[in-house]
Symmetry: D2
Subunit: 382 residues, 4 copies
């Protein structure tokens, strides 16, 4: 049956892991949420035409372009979704914004602070013309973390004192696991730090509503070369793990860790926040749950509550299933599309903005500077 809503044409650059999950979000968001515009999967961008066409057929895109610059200029594209490695984010985003296209950009925003600054300037200039931009920190759209943010904003935690954030994976634990672009500084910018650390910095800042003001850090590369698949080996030029201590503007202190060597942890993106009135704990491996300790409970019946974040009045959940019918990883991307398209429809700026992405980038840069300076404290520019 026809749908009376208007459409928004999407051009997406990149069709690997992120491209697959973004496609799923673009295809399905309007089936569950009352969007002002129905996304049309107009063009998929990929350098290899054969592979791009295969991906377009599989994911449901109407056309392909091998040149992202051409994709950005197309009339049937009103929104550009950037799912490429970090080294191309800046050029694509700036070109799209200058062409008047709304932009959704995968995280980390860029491979350097300089690029992120350029992108943020472009986004702010575009915003003045009604063009919207958003960086894709999808974990903000986990209902449990959105609920965490709501509880903090409502004052249920009181003054935040402690933040504990880790993002633990184990896919590099085996030294024979092969080389990939994610282990090359020129493509990925950094290793666990940008890939995983960016998420927990953003999540910590989002949930607390506060900003990191300084860090002390160490990084490590446990396995310095890896097989390339053709019998040779190649040098790993990024961090395998990054650990840092942090201070927040509001007085809280925190610790952060990102690693791909925590054997047995598959996607343990964890956040714990302790305030003067309550505490929160989250683990993405149990993403439908939020642990909440309410300091107002009577002492004899107090304890961390395992809140199953599947009730109709939990963030985003109303669009989906009855209580206890769990959501998964890909739903966070649907929520991202919902928030972005709603903002486009309403003529407002969505969050997280490129400026938010830049703030994360500055923390990552300070971590690298501190690690290079024997853990010396690095203040983050405001």
């Amino acid at each position: 049956m026809s749908d009376n809503r208007g459409e928004i044409g999407v051009g997406m650059v990149g069709h690997a892991f992120m491209g697959a999950v973004h496609s799923q979000a673009w295809r399905n968001a309007h089936r569950f949420f009352d969007l002002p515009l129905v996304p049309r999967l107009a063009v998929l961008g990929g350098r290899d035409e054969t592979r791009a066409k295969e991906a377009a057929a599989k994911f449901g895109w109407a056309a392909v372009e091998t040149d992202w610059a051409a994709l950005v200029r197309r009339d049937d594209v009103q929104l550009v979704d950037i799912c490429t490695p970090g080294d191309s984010h800046c050029d694509i985003a700036v070109a799209a914004l200058e062409a008047g296209k709304h932009v959704l950009c995968e995280k980390p925003l860029a491979n350097s602070v300089a690029e992120a600054e350029r992108m943020t300037a472009a986004a702010e200039a575009a915003a003045a013309r009604g063009v919207r931009s958003m960086v894709a920190f999808n974990y903000r759209r986990v209902p449990a973390l959105a609920l965490a943010r709501r509880l903090v904003a409502e004052g249920r935690l009181g003054t935040v004192r402690h933040v504990r954030a880790v993002y633990l994976q184990d896919w590099l634990s085996d030294p024979e696991s092969p080389m990939t672009w994610r282990l090359r500084r020129d493509r990925a910018g950094s290793g666990s730090l940008g890939d995983l650390g960016a998420h927990i910095v953003d999540a910590a800042q989002f949930v607390t509503g506060d900003l990191v003001t300084g860090v002390s850090a160490l990084t490590e590369t446990f396995v310095r070369s890896r097989p390339t698949g053709d019998g040779g080996t190649d040098e790993v030029t990024v961090d395998d793990a990054a650990l840092f201590l942090a201070r927040f503007a509001g007085g809280a202190i925190g610790s952060f860790e990102a690693t791909r060597y925590a054997l047995g942890r598959k996607n343990a993106m964890r956040l714990e926040v302790n305030g003067s009135r309550g505490s929160l704990a989250f683990d993405f491996e149990s993403m439908n749950e939020l642990s909440f300790f309410d300091g107002d409970d009577p002492a004899d019946a107090a304890g961390f509550r395992r809140v199953l974040v599947t009730e109709a009045d939990h963030p985003y959940v109303g669009g989906w299933w009855p209580p206890g019918h769990l959501l998964g990883y890909e739903h966070t991307f649907v929520h991202e599309v919902v928030d972005l398209v709603n903002a486009v429809g309403a003529g407002t700026d969505p969050a997280p903005s490129f400026a938010d992405g830049l703030r994360v980038q500055r923390v990552l840069a300070a971590v690298e500077d501190s690690a290079a300076a024997n853990a010396a404290w690095q203040q983050i520019p405001a």
Copy 2:
């Protein structure tokens, strides 16, 4: 981009909760799995034309029919998906099978053993003509439960001795929660027993690969009338909770419980199996996990393993995301569609068959008979 695969036209009857989640499965299955036929959402059946059209637009169906008999006869429908309350399953399924249409039927298969027998006979007759049928016990397609079945089949549990199965919800806990068709015997057949108990009987039989041979049961209706929304009240004519003990053909013993009054449990479909060599435990509220105790582990390092069932070689997972990136409730329906369409393509009979659904129905009937006879043991016909 075009897809070179052939299509299979689907007609779905019913567009409430089950209709929504089946639509999502039909729309997306071929995006993640290499199906022999691409499902086409041809016709949606619903008695109220306006509401059916709204649902068709929302869920992506091409046309609507207000008469299921017309839907079943349409040339653009090769497969009929039955998502209505239990009282209409038999008529629709038999008509569809006789019209040579493959059938997917929601559980419980029917509201009575007699209907289920008629449906099974129709399915077997149709199968002889290459027409496929399947009953939609979606929990078999939770990767963790499919893995549980695999471990039992591989002998990792040894001889099964104990089964413990509960399905706990709490949405009727409040006596003021309103009347619904699910609480009327004429529509739903039974209450928690058919809605929830059917799932755990099937899951227990599926995972153990064994059949329930007899039961002793009690049922209870805690709240005997409920508000209708128009100021009046209506009588609840089904069980609120059903508990039963069971014996299995292979010598195992088990206990079962289905209730909508377990305050705080939202969708706790739980199964524990203890064998002579290993044990398994599952809870749908943590549906991406399977607990596995391997009795071959050395005593000093033995313990229930929390297996995160998100690895590429876990059942169904290879079609989706990297390890630790969780799946949700709706994915079980995608897997159902995948198995059904693969069977249609391969010309084989999918499982669970209508005969499997009939076996569950016989257990449910025995439970009701036992409950009516003061818990007297009821043997299940083979």
Copy 3:
């Protein structure tokens, strides 16, 4: 340094597992709790003098007796603690009560209802003379279960609707595990039913403050003969597992299971209670925790609370350590001694009484009757 409190001389019969843990309780209770009388470990009873003397030296008893009848008559014994197998409970308890000695008797109270009735009559006659008696259902003294009882008594659960109780062990899982007195009907009365089932029946009645009025049951013996250690085998004459459904006087329904074949479960004595206003869940393998769901919590922040039952105002905890410093299995016996000696000092009757033990015995008998009658419902005499 001397202690100004009076003393109470204890004579304990039996020095195996229960004797060891009771000794620890008698030796230490007054170090942590302000008892009216200091227990003196006067006499240890055991049939083999050499082994009894070794045990007395190890556990700290001042003397031994090989004849329990002599022990019961001694002037330095004011309280008799019965830690023998069930077949001797009745004779010892009645003799002790008739000799004017307070009695603590291990559970199950007896091997038959007839014995339990005789004991209860003796206890009631003795009570009229100021002689106290108590049956040793130690799980009532787990702080978490005592807290559970308190929450139910305070109305925090509302009307109780569901009880789910299992007691799972696995030490018989291996068919080669040797024969023991616990597997002989003449010594132990029954198998898992009396050993484990008795605990969960008492716990369920204690926590709910309600009584079981009827049951439907099945029992099973998985391994019918076992090695005796001398190259032969001996017949197992008790149940390996017992499952039963139950109704409570107040309208709740419940399921119970006791087994020693739940591979991987070491001492999983679990209880879940769902009421109209709240729910509780407990597992002895995490005995310092109580899960509590408060139905009054706002829906968006509701969830089972993991209450760490180690706060000063939790039952019994004030005598011990700071919050989070866990207690263990043996502490439940210390609490038992505390409650008993306090009752003796105050001249009141402690709980659970022999009448409470008799009520449990009647449930166990009804379970055996039902199991023998093909699960036919058995009403429990009031």
Copy 4:
């Protein structure tokens, strides 16, 4: 009954929290373990004679001394147990060692590295004369952590890469919680750092078998003055929380956090270790459990095992109860006494030695130095 073993007379200085739990250990260790010498609770030292006598009566000590120097010299004391605040450890320990008495000293070993060095020198001189000394890091004697050490030592973790250690309490979370000696630098040396941080540094070094070589740290005092109980307030002169990053000699990296402001966490002493072949996780709030991930498990059945550390062949457990019958906090002190008395009997040096305590002290000092120097890296002297 008499016990044929010889005795060892114990003099204990201090009778607050640590005195109570040490008394329990001295009274009971020989009841469960086959010690070469039976501890005799000879003398309790306390400055206030009335309170010391009350404590001696309560805990079971034969005599009191108000002057620790006199206690140390008594002929009926062969072992001195130091349970006072840190500012007196050095003087008492050195005097006792010089008097030829074995010494058990509570942690942290001292309030400064200089004191710890003086104590270690005294201990090493005394050891040459057959006098034994041990620092009371009781968490080494949690069976789960002793098992963790055993697994690492057996190579089950492979090369250790990551250590994550936190010790979270919440008893200072309320700003109105009163002043105590633990918040004064002159008595306690430091705050959370020495009280809690000392434990996790020792535990991390113990379990990994490795040493911390350098740290970067920050500390914070959230509440700078507290009520004294007489209407006034007093200044808090210690850290409320201490966070630090660390490198280990063997190449591992780690993070540490000690705080008394983690609302809802009562005694969450947690340790996670990731190696190339396996991983371990522990939380004292579930102290009878060790989580173990075995990297050799097949991928489809791998997961963290919840090992219930209550089997007879687990460290220390053989002296206690059957599987699944949990131990508590105080049992770790019993195990400490067992290891110390066994070493005295065998004429060997027990662990952890004063030199081990000094190593921890050096880490704590480096943490304070780093925190004072804006997180600058501090190398730990070997």
